[in-house]
């Protein structure tokens, strides 16, 4: 089936088999390997992308369901001319990663939180990160990064 997707801001058209998962389409066909697979039960969140601006787990989504929609992966997060999205910068500055494998999914989820839960405090951010598992960091610096990134995004908006 032919799908038309706006992928990281670029219109893409491709023929895909119905049983191809979105994560596989992104990694294998579009060669965007920043989106990772860490489990097989929709638990870990390493595959999190933005679909029309909200976070979804691409391992539990068909590529055909992307048809007519906009997809953002970690590679497409930084806007044109930007080296890093403020949330990416916040993860770096706050040591919000160690092995980096859960990180793209965390960052995509964090961007969603910062946009749709603007007033989230630390406790709410922790609840909002429930669907993203990290085995390395113990979450503390991730939460700090999300708070800092949200603040930076707010500041950029308010400018």
């Amino acid at each position: 089936m032919k799908i038309s997707v706006t992928l990281n801001g670029v219109a893409v058209q491709e023929d895909v088999e119905p049983h191809l998962l979105a994560a596989a389409w992104i990694r294998e066909r579009r060669c965007l390997t920043g989106t990772h697979i860490g489990c097989d039960t929709t638990q870990c969140g390493a595959c999190t992308i933005l679909l029309d601006g909200v976070s979804v787990k691409s391992c539990t989504l068909l590529a055909v369901s992307l048809d007519g929609h906009a997809v953002t992966t970690i590679e497409g997060l930084a806007a044109n001319g930007q080296d890093l999205h403020p949330m990416q910068a916040a993860f770096k500055e706050n040591h919000g990663l160690q092995c980096g494998f859960c990180t793209p999914g965390m960052i995509m989820r964090a961007v969603d939180i910062a946009i749709h839960r603007r007033e989230a405090d630390e406790a709410e951010i922790r609840r909002e990160l429930e669907g993203n598992i990290c085995r390395c960091t113990g979450y503390r610096n991730i939460v700090a990064a999300v708070l800092a990134g949200a603040q930076a995004m707010r500041a950029a908006r308010d400018k």
Binding site: L7, V10, A11, V12, Q13, R27, E28, R29, R30, C31, L32, T33, G34, T35, H36, I37, G38, C39, D40, T41, Q43, C44, A46, T73, I74, E75, L77, A78, L84, Q88, K92, H95, L97, Q98, C99, G100, F101, C102, T103, P104, I107, A123, I125, R126, R127, L129, E130, G131, N132, I133, C134, R135, C136, T137, G138, Y139, R140, N141, I142, V143
Partner: protein, 830 residues
């Protein structure tokens, strides 16, 4: 279906590829260089994994890449023409293989080869455990190494019986389902108990006992126990755990038909160790195998070893003449990754009438699994023994470890590798002693910790301890955790119907991997190697044999090179992960990388300085010993002539490059005291950790953010062990959802508190960094801290004495509802 390969060929800039492309090459020249999904046909950069495939070599840990999706993990690496392998695994814990019929699989679409255990036995030996039997109390080694594929018998759910290689993953998976195996079920051994009913797991171990290892002074202990005023006993369970790094294991095998050389691209915690294990297993001449690793997505001990799948992709690549890849599913990780812990321990302590420790007796029974993984016996014995008594004064210690074979995946190192087990037993027993003797647990510990804080001393186990602030750690910790105010907080919680508890625990570490090295070969020491290459542009390339799986090993190395040679730190890049780049390497595990990299980099830098000094002596026409070197500047004694090392590099391009190899003689004894407060909801048994404090002595802390991150991560694992994690049983493994994070509880952000961390470091005198390693401390400290707090919260309930890890809500509810407090009668309603 070849669209996946076709796409990569269109994107890739073929040229200096490792292998020839699959038939067709650049099918459509007009589309060459077309970017995916870019209608303007603008060329884009090659995907990072493809670029790595064309240019294998050691990599730096680049945070910038990790946050932008550019970090390369094995499953991101794609070779032209690659095939995919899938392992067919036993659904039974113990069974004879009567027959394997792979004919249907071989004939399935896209299938290139199917290997059985018999096929593989002709090409490979089992992967050898590297610990000689004498190290764990056996006269002779048992033939219990992990086979590349099981032949004749399967010994755990998940034991590999066949390897199916096909053009695509889908075809391999479908063909794997067509492999027919005729099993004859054998008795299953699940509980680690000596004695076999019917056929044992190994003929050479008729009672399923893998080993019986004794340590210490049992005779003196017996004597002290006999004379002791008090004897305190405890029964503790430290169940099997799933390491569960979020990145699954993966491997790609490559074979160069011209040179005969094999290359493995995988994610091990040390390329050289795996190279050694596979070289032996495959009977390869030295130099014929190269192991390369890109980024590792976590490991925690499960990725140290050579694994069957490593050998399978190499054998298959050689057979089919194509690269062969294998990536574990999460389910497979549960079925084939080594697991951790698995101890059931009886322990006892003898004390005198003043509460002074006399003797400690520890008897663990270890659930070994069906095979020895490469370090299994030492992980269960000699790694934990040195710290079994902590820093406490004991007159004698005796340890008696029994390893028992079971029909499960092997147990081996998992964050702490024997030391968290030992520390857990010690610190729970000390709390039990405090309760039984009615001495405050802080006071009881203080009575038995060494007076002198900074001087080195030797533990009763023989472990040299380079000083530590033991009592200070406790004082700082309990003050920071506001133990004094706890009684009031407990009362306030009770008014809300909650049970609040306070617990704390000390820990002592033995970092550096010296016990493992000494076990592998008498007199053996951990070795590490570092190479320095100075670019004409002022950059410095350091290659080192450690392997980050998220730790920032590079930082202390970078800073040392920068400070010593007077160079800019951001011009220095540290790379890891290529067995061809260095002759040897120690990898990472046992919290040794800070220590081993310190001796290696010092050696390499010393050689460089010596070389440069010799060059300057020649240039200045003076004796080398009159050439002084200080913070990057050479000067001739008694003259004004100076030269910066940085300038020498451009003056003598390539001549200062060097490699240093060194042995680590001194480990470090990180130590600390952690405390936590829990609140239990008695109606549900749910535990909330409301507060967690960690005071640690890591010597001189070079990078506080990195160290704190290791503590927080290790504590999170320890909390998970205490509250939630448990490896599934063989029976559960046979059902799909048990082998998943759907049933295996990894705690999430709302459940792991931030550690309030205090640096109480006493610099180490035994390495150039002054550091004590930190990577595994949290995993040792947290389990007894949390369980002691829960015991405190439940102190009114007699059943709490038997409460074991994981202390899940239902288990806690059972303790509470079985009495202590009043239980209300309820009428039943349908």
């Amino acid at each position: 279906m070849t669209t996946e390969l076709g796409r990569r060929q269109l994107i890739a800039m073929t040229g200096a590829g490792l292998l020839t492309s699959a038939a067709g090459g650049l099918a459509n020249a007009a589309e060459a260089g077309t970017a995916p999904g870019n209608p303007a046909k603008m060329p884009v950069a090659m995907p990072p994994g493809d670029a790595f495939a064309r240019n294998l070599g050691p990599l730096p840990r680049d945070v910038g890449k990790m946050i932008t999706g550019g970090a390369i993990y094995v499953d991101d690496v794609r070779f032209d023409g690659e095939a995919v392998g899938v392992v067919v695994r036993s659904p039974h814990p113990h069974a004879r293989i009567r027959a394997i019929d792979a004919s249907a699989a071989r004939g399935a679409p896209g299938v290139l080869a199917v290997l059985s255990g018999e096929d593989v036995a002709r090409m490979a030996k089992p992967i050898a455990c590297v610990i000689p039997p004498a190290a764990y109390g056996r006269a002779e080694a048992l033939p219990v190494d992990r086979p590349v594929l099981a032949a004749g018998r399967v010994r755990h759910v998940g034991d590999g019986v066949a390897f199916v290689v096909a053009e695509t993953a889908g075809q391999a998976r479908e063909a794997a389902e067509l492999v027919k195996v005729d099993y004859e079920l054998l008795p299953e051994y699940v509980e680690p108990r000596a004695g076999a009913v019917g056929m044992p797991i190994w003929d050479a171990a008729p009672d399923n006992v893998a080993f019986d290892w004794q340590f210490g002074n049992p005779a003196l202990c017996r004597d002290l126990f006999n004379r002791a005023a008090h004897t305190v006993r405890i029964h503790l369970s430290i169940p099997r755990l799933i390491p569960n790094p979020i990145e699954p294991r993966a491997a790609i095998g490559l074979h160069d038909p011209q040179s005969g050389k094999l290359t493995l691209v995988s994610n091990p915690q040390g390329v050289h160790f795996v190279r050694g294990g596979l070289t032996r297993a495959l009977g390869l001449p030295d130099g014929e195998l190269r192991v390369v690793s890109p980024y590792l997505g976590g490991a925690f001990g499960s990725k140290i070893y050579a694994y069957p799948e490593h050998a399978l992709v190499l054998l298959a690549a050689r057979m089919v003449g194509r690269p062969v890849r294998w990536t574990a599913t999460r389910r497979e990780a549960f079925l084939s990754d080594t697991q951790g812990r698995g101890h059931t321990t009886e322990a006892a302590m003898a004390l005198d009438e003043d509460g002074r420790f006399l003797a400690l007796s520890v008897h663990p029974t270890v659930d070994i699994g069906a095979y020895f993984s490469q370090l299994t016996p030492i992980t269960a014995t000699g790694v934990g023994a040195p710290i079994q008594g902590g820093a406490y004064r004991f007159q004698a210690i005796e340890i008696h470890v029994r390893g028992i074979f079971t029909n499960k995946v092997p147990v081996d190192a998992y964050r702490g590798a024997g030391r968290p087990e030992a520390n857990y037993v010690l610190e729970r027993l000390v709390d039990r002693a405090a309760a039984e003797l009615r001495i405050d647990p802080a006071e009881l510990r203080a009575r038995n910790l060494p007076d002198s804080q900074t001087a080195s001393f030797t533990a009763v186990t023989g472990l040299p301890i380079g000083g530590g602030r033991f009592l200070d750690n406790q004082r700082l910790c309990l003050e920071r955790a506001d133990r004094a105010g706890f009684a009031q907080r407990r009362a306030e919680a009770a008014s809300r119907g909650r049970l609040r508890g306070f617990g704390f625990a000390h820990y002592l570490e033995a970092n550096g991997g010296l016990q493992v090295a000494a076990a592998i070969a008498p007199g053996g020491l951990p070795h590490e190697c570092a190479a320095l290459k100075f670019g004409a542009d002022g950059t410095v390339a350091v290659t080192i044999g450690t392997q980050s799986s998220g730790q920032d090993h590079a930082r202390p190395v970078t800073l040392y090179v920068a400070e010593t040679l007077g160079l800019a730190a951001d011009e220095i890049t540290v790379r890891e992960g290529d067995s061809d780049a260095l002759p040897i390497g120690g990898g990472t595990g046992g919290s040794k990388s800070t220590l081993t990299s310190s001796v290696a980099i010092k050696q390499a830098v010393d050689i460089v300085i010596a070389k440069a000094r010799a060059l300057m002596a020649q240039t200045w026409n003076v004796q080398p010993e009159t050439v002084q070197f200080d913070r990057g500047v050479f000067s001739a004694a008694g003259s004004l002539r100076t030269v910066r090392f940085a300038d020498l590099v451009s003056r003598y391009p390539g001549q200062l490059d060097n490699e240093g190899e060194a042995a680590l003689h001194y480990g470090s004894s990180a130590n600390g005291c952690h405390a936590c407060e829990v609140e239990i909801d008695p109606e549900t048994g749910a535990v909330e950790i409301v507060r967690y404090t960690g005071v640690d002595d890591f010597g001189r802390v070079i990078d506080a953010a990195n160290v704190q991150g290791q503590v927080q991560g290790g504590v999170a694992m320890g909390i998970g062990q205490a509250l939630a994690e448990l490896a599934p049983t063989p029976e559960a493994l046979q059902r799909p959802l048990a082998t998943s994070n759907f049933n295996h509880a990894l705690l999430r952000a709302p459940e792991i508190p931030a550690v309030d961390w205090v640096d109480n470091g006493l610099p180490s005198a035994t390495n150039i960094f002054g550091a004590k390693a930190c990577g595994e401390s949290g995993a040792s400290a947290a389990p007894p801290t949390v369980m002691n707090a829960i015991a405190d919260a439940l102190s009114a309930f007699p059943g709490a004495r038997e409460l074991q890890m994981p202390a899940r809500p239902e288990d806690i509810w059972k303790v509470i509802s079985s009495g202590g407090a009043e239980s209300s009668a309820r009428t039943t309603s349908a």
